[in-house]
C-alpha cells in the first residue's frame, strides 16, 4: 500500500486524497439535505435578508482579488505603454496572467514579523484595510437588481466604511516598529481625514438634488438620457469629488503614504508575503470602488447614455423539440468548417489543423458575441453591468493615466489644497445648489 502510494506523482496523490473525501462529503451532504432539508429551507426563507447579505459578502470577497488583478495588470500595461515600453508580455496572452502570478508569488513568500512589532496589531492591520475596501462595494449597484444591499443610507455607509481604512493604515504604521512606517501611517491619517471632508461635502449638493442617500435610487434618477446625469448639474461637485477620491484612494499625485522615493514604502515597509498582498489588493480595490462610486453618483451608474429602441427577441428553444439537439450537435461543426475554409483556401501554406483551430476560435467569438447580444437585449442586468463596467474601467484608466503622468505633491501643499481650495469650493457648490433649488422650487 505504502509502496503504491510512494510511486504516485504529486497530482496523483492530490487526486487520490480528494476523490474519497469528496465522495464521503457528498454522501453526507445528501443525507443531511434529505433529513434536515425542509427545516433548513424554512429557516433560510425566514431570514432571507441575512442570507442575502452573507451570500453577497462572500461573492464580493471572492471577486475582489480578480478585480484587483485586472486593475494591477491594467496599471502595469498602460504605464508601460506610456513609457514607450512593452510591459508584461510573457505570462499568458499579452502578459495578462502576470498579476495573477504576482498574487500567487505573494502567497508563497515568507510572512515575517519584525522584532519589536506589536504582533496582534501588525497582523490585523492589513485585514482591516482590506475589509474596509471590500465592504464599500456592498452598496454599489452594479446593474438593475444587482446590488448586495440597497441601504437607504447607502452613501453614508460608504463613507463610514471608507473611513475605517485610515484605522488600518494607522495600525500598520504604528505597529511596524519602523520610522518610515510611522511617517507613512501618520501621513495617511492626516491626508485621508482631510480629504474625507471635501469628498463628503461635494456630494451634499447632489444629495439635495436627488433627495435620497440610496445609491440605487440615485442611479435610477439619472435616466434615460445622458443629459440627466448629475455631472451636468453638478460639474464643480464632480471635479471636487474626483480630486478628493484620488486622494482617498492614495493615488498619484496624492500617493504620499507610499511615496517610494521619500519614505521607502510608507506603512507597508515592514510587510511581506500575503499581509503585504492584502495592502496591495486593498489599494487597487479602492481604485475600482472609487471609480464605481464616481460613476454611480455622477455618470448614471448602469444607465445607458441613451435609451435603446425597445427590442425583444423572443427565443423559445424548447419549442424546437428534437431539432434543438440536432442543431447543438451540427451547428458548431458546420460553422467551424465554414469559418475555417477561408483560412485554408486563401493561404496555401496554412496547414489544415491551424485553419481548423482558427475557425473554431472564430466560431467561439461569434457565438459568445451572439449570446451576449441576445442577453443584452433581453436581460436588463446584462446591459447594466456592461455599461457600468465600461464606465468604471474608463475611470480606472484615468487614474492609471494620471499615475503615469503626474509627479507627487508635497504634504504641506496637499493639506493646503484640501483646506484652502477644495473645502471652500465644495461649500460654494453646496450653497449654489441649495439656492438654485430654492429659486427653481419656488
Amino acid at each position: 500500500m505504502s509502496r503504491a502510494w510512494g510511486r504516485l506523482t504529486l497530482p496523483g496523490k492530490v487526486v487520490f486524497t480528494l476523490v474519497p473525501l469528496l465522495l464521503v462529503l457528498s454522501v453526507a451532504l445528501v443525507i443531511v439535505i434529505a433529513v434536515f432539508g425542509g427545516a433548513m429551507l424554512d429557516i433560510l426563507v425566514a431570514n432571507v435578508g441575512i442570507v442575502r447579505f452573507l451570500v453577497a459578502v462572500t461573492i464580493l470577497l471572492l471577486l475582489a482579488p480578480p478585480s484587483a488583478f485586472i486593475i494591477i495588470y491594467m496599471e502595469m500595461k498602460i504605464i508601460a505603454l506610456m513609457n514607450l515600453r512593452l510591459g508584461p508580455d510573457r505570462v499568458g496572452p499579452w502578459g495578462t496572467l502576470l498579476s495573477t502570478v504576482h498574487g500567487l508569488k505573494v502567497l508563497m513568500k515568507e510572512d515575517f514579523t519584525p522584532t519589536g512589532a506589536d504582533r496582534i496589531v501588525f497582523t490585523w492591520a492589513p485585514i482591516v484595510v482590506f475589509m474596509a475596501s471590500v465592504m464599500g462595494a456592498l452598496v454599489i449597484p452594479f446593474a438593475p437588481g444587482l446590488i448586495a444591499q440597497d441601504l437607504n443610507v447607502g452613501l453614508l455607509y460608504f463613507f463610514a466604511v471608507g473611513g475605517l481604512s485610515v484605522v488600518g493604515l494607522l495600525m500598520a504604521g504604528w505597529s511596524s516598529y519602523n520610522k518610515y512606517s510611522l511617517l507613512g501611517g501618520l501621513r495617511s491619517a492626516a491626508q485621508m481625514i482631510s480629504y474625507e471632508i471635501p469628498l463628503t461635502l461635494s456630494v451634499v449638493g447632489l444629495l439635495i438634488l436627488a433627495g435620497t442617500m440610496s445609491l440605487n435610487t440615485i442611479v435610477e434618477n439619472q435616466g434615460p438620457w445622458f443629459t440627466d446625469w448629475y455631472v451636468f448639474q453638478q460639474p464643480l461637485g464632480f471635479v471636487i469629488f474626483f480630486i478628493a477620491a484620488t486622494a482617498e484612494a492614495n493615488r498619484t499625485p496624492f500617493d504620499l503614504t507610499e511615496a517610494d522615493s521619500e519614505i521607502v514604502a510608507g506603512f507597508a515597509t515592514e510587510y511581506s508575503g500575503m499581509r503585504f498582498g492584502f495592502f496591495f489588493f486593498a489599494e487597487y480595490i479602492n481604485v475600482f470602488i472609487m471609480s464605481a462610486l464616481l460613476v454611480t453618483l455622477f455618470l448614471g451608474g448602469w444607465q445607458a447614455p441613451f435609451p435603446f429602441p425597445e427590442l425583444h427577441i423572443a427565443l423559445d428553444p424548447g419549442s424546437l423539440g428534437i431539432w434543438l439537439l440536432l442543431g447543438i450537435a451540427i451547428v458548431p461543426v458546420v460553422a467551424t468548417l465554414v469559418l475555417a475554409a477561408p483560412f485554408y483556401l486563401l493561404r496555401s501554406s496554412t496547414p489544415w489543423w491551424q485553419a481548423l483551430i482558427a475557425g473554431f476560435l472564430l466560431f467561439n467569438v461569434l457565438a459568445v458575441g451572439a449570446v451576449l447580444g441576445i442577453a443584452y437585449v433581453n436581460f436588463d442586468f446584462v446591459a447594466g453591468i456592461l455599461w457600468f463596467m465600461g464606465k468604471t474601467y474608463a475611470f480606472v484608466f484615468v487614474f492609471v493615466w494620471m499615475r503615469g503622468t503626474l509627479p507627487r505633491i508635497r504634504i504641506d501643499q496637499l493639506m493646503g489644497f484640501a483646506w484652502k481650495w477644495l473645502l471652500p469650493a465644495s461649500l460654494v457648490n453646496l450653497f449654489v445648489t441649495a439656492a438654485a433649488i430654492v429659486v427653481v422650487g419656488n
Partner: protein, 406 residues
C-alpha cells in the same frame, strides 16, 4: 538570568528602548567623536532620527543620510560617505600613465568621458604633447554627447525623486541611443576608456556617424517634447520653485561649480574661463539663471542640452582631417614636474593634479570631483525642508556617489 544577559552592563551607555525584546538605540556613535557629532546626536524635544540609505531607493547610489526630524521637518542632517570608496587615486599612483586613465573611468560612471579627459590633459601637459586637431574635435564631440546623456538622465532621476514614473524611462531612451552610438565609436557602453594620452583610441566610423545623424535629426524635437511633461506641470513647478535656494556668494563659499553655480547667476564655465581643447573656436552660450533654487538648477541643465547640441553640430561641420594620435613611445616617462588640468564636466569643474617623478607612474595624483564638493552644501540646503524635499534637493545637486567616494 536570561533577562540579565539582555540588559546592558553598568558601563554600557547604550539606551535600552524596550526591555521585553532587548532593542537598543542604534544610531548615535557613543561616545561622540567630535563636537559636531555630540551636537547632532543630541535629540531635542519631539525630535527623532531617521536613517536614509545606504539602501534607500533614491539616494543616488550608496549615500547614507541621517536626518534629525521634527515631525516631517528636517532639523539637521549628517551625511555619511565612504560606502563606495575604492582608493582610485592610490590605484592610479601604482599604475603607469596609460593604466591610470582606465581607473579614473568609473568615478562618475554617468559621464565617464569627462573623468578620462582631465587626467589625459594633465598627463599631456606633463609630457608636453601636441594633440592632433582631429583628435581634439572627436574628443569634444563625444564628450558633449556624454554631457547630454548625463543631463538627460538627471532629468529622469530628478522627476523620479519627485514621484514621476514616466520621465525616467523617456530619458533612458535618449541616453541609451547616445550610449549605443558611443559604443559604436569607443567600443564600450558605459566605461568608454576612449581618450588616450595624445589622442583618442579610434577614428570616427560609419556606424557611429549614421547613428549620430539619425539621432540628431530628431533629438531637439524629442527632448523638447519630453520636457513639456515636467516644465509646464504645475505640481512639479510648485514643488521645485523656491526650494533649496542658495545665493551666489554662498555658492562660491561652498566651492560650487558648474550648473549649480550658474543657477545662482554667475556665468562661470571652465570652457570659457580657462579654455582648453578647441572650445575657444566654438560658438556657444553659457546659460545662467538667477534664482538659485532647485527649479533653476533643473532648467539650467535642460538649457545646457541645447548648447551641447549646438556644439556637436559645429564639431561635425568643422571636423578637420588628419591623424588622431600623436606619435608617442609606448612607455611614457615624463620629466619630473607637476601639471593641473581642469575641465567642465556635466556636474562642474572636474580637475586632476598630477606630479611626475620621472618614472612611468605618476608620483601623486589628486582628483577634484565636483560631486563631492556639491554634496557638502546639503547641510546648508536641507534643514527647514520637509522629508519629501530632501531627495529633491539632493537630486538637484546631481551627485554621483562613485565620484564622491572615489
Amino acid at each position: 538570568m536570561t533577562t540579565d544577559t539582555r540588559r546592558p552592563s553598568a558601563d554600557d551607555p547604550r539606551v535600552l528602548l524596550d526591555e521585553e525584546i532587548g532593542v537598543y538605540e542604534q544610531i548615535p556613535p557613543y561616545p561622540p567623536r567630535t563636537e559636531r557629532e555630540a551636537e547632532f546626536y543630541t535629540l531635542g524635544d519631539g525630535q527623532m532620527f531617521i536613517n536614509m540609505g545606504p539602501q534607500h531607493p533614491s539616494t543616488h547610489g550608496v549615500l547614507r543620510v541621517v536626518l534629525k526630524l521634527d515631525g516631517e521637518k528636517v532639523v539637521d542632517i549628517d551625511p555619511v560617505l565612504g560606502y563606495l570608496h575604492r582608493g582610485v587615486e592610490k590605484l592610479c599612483e601604482n599604475a603607469d600613465y596609460h593604466q591610470a586613465i582606465c581607473y579614473t573611468d568609473p568615478l562618475e560612471y554617468i559621464s565617464s568621458l569627462f573623468c578620462e579627459w582631465s587626467p589625459v590633459i594633465a598627463f599631456e601637459k606633463l609630457l608636453d604633447v601636441e594633440v592632433p586637431r582631429r583628435a581634439e574635435y572627436i574628443r569634444v564631440l563625444s564628450a558633449e554627447l556624454n554631457r547630454i546623456a548625463s543631463h538627460a538622465l538627471f532629468m529622469g532621476w530628478f522627476a523620479l525623486d519627485l514621484g514621476g514614473l514616466t520621465p525616467i524611462l523617456w530619458s533612458f531612451i535618449e541616453r541609451d541611443e547616445i550610449v549605443e552610438m558611443l559604443a559604436a565609436l569607443t567600443g564600450q557602453r558605459m566605461l568608454f576608456n576612449y581618450f588616450r594620452i595624445g589622442g583618442v583610441n579610434g577614428d570616427l566610423n560609419h556606424e557611429f556617424m549614421s547613428r549620430l545623424g539619425f539621432w540628431m535629426s530628431r533629438a531637439t524635437q524629442q527632448i523638447e517634447s519630453n520636457l513639456t511633461l515636467l516644465n509646464e506641470n504645475e505640481l512639479f513647478v510648485r514643488r521645485a520653485r523656491g526650494l533649496g535656494t542658495i545665493d551666489s556668494a554662498t555658492a562660491l563659499r561652498m566651492c560650487m561649480t558648474g550648473p549649480n553655480l550658474r543657477a545662482t547667476g554667475l556665468p562661470f564655465d571652465v570652457r570659457r574661463a580657462h579654455p582648453y581643447s578647441i572650445y575657444p573656436e566654438l560658438d556657444f552660450d553659457i546659460p545662467t539663471r538667477t534664482e538659485g533654487d532647485v527649479l533653476a538648477r533643473y532648467l539650467l541643465r535642460m538649457d545646457e542640452i541645447k548648447q551641447s547640441l549646438r556644439i556637436i553640430d559645429q564639431c561635425l561641420h568643422q571636423m578637420p582631417d588628419g591623424p588622431i594620435m600623436a606619435r608617442l613611445p609606448r612607455l611614457l616617462r615624463p620629466r619630473p614636474g607637476r601639471a593641473y588640468a581642469a575641465i567642465e564636466g556635466p556636474r562642474g569643474q572636474y580637475s586632476t593634479y598630477a606630479i611626475s617623478d620621472g618614472t612611468d607612474q605618476p608620483f601623486r595624483m589628486r582628483i577634484h570631483d565636483p560631486s563631492f564638493i556639491h554634496l557638502q552644501s546639503v547641510g546648508l540646503l536641507m534643514p527647514g525642508n520637509l522629508v519629501a524635499d530632501t531627495m529633491a534637493v539632493m537630486a538637484s545637486l546631481d551627485p554621483i556617489m562613485g565620484g564622491v567616494d572615489k
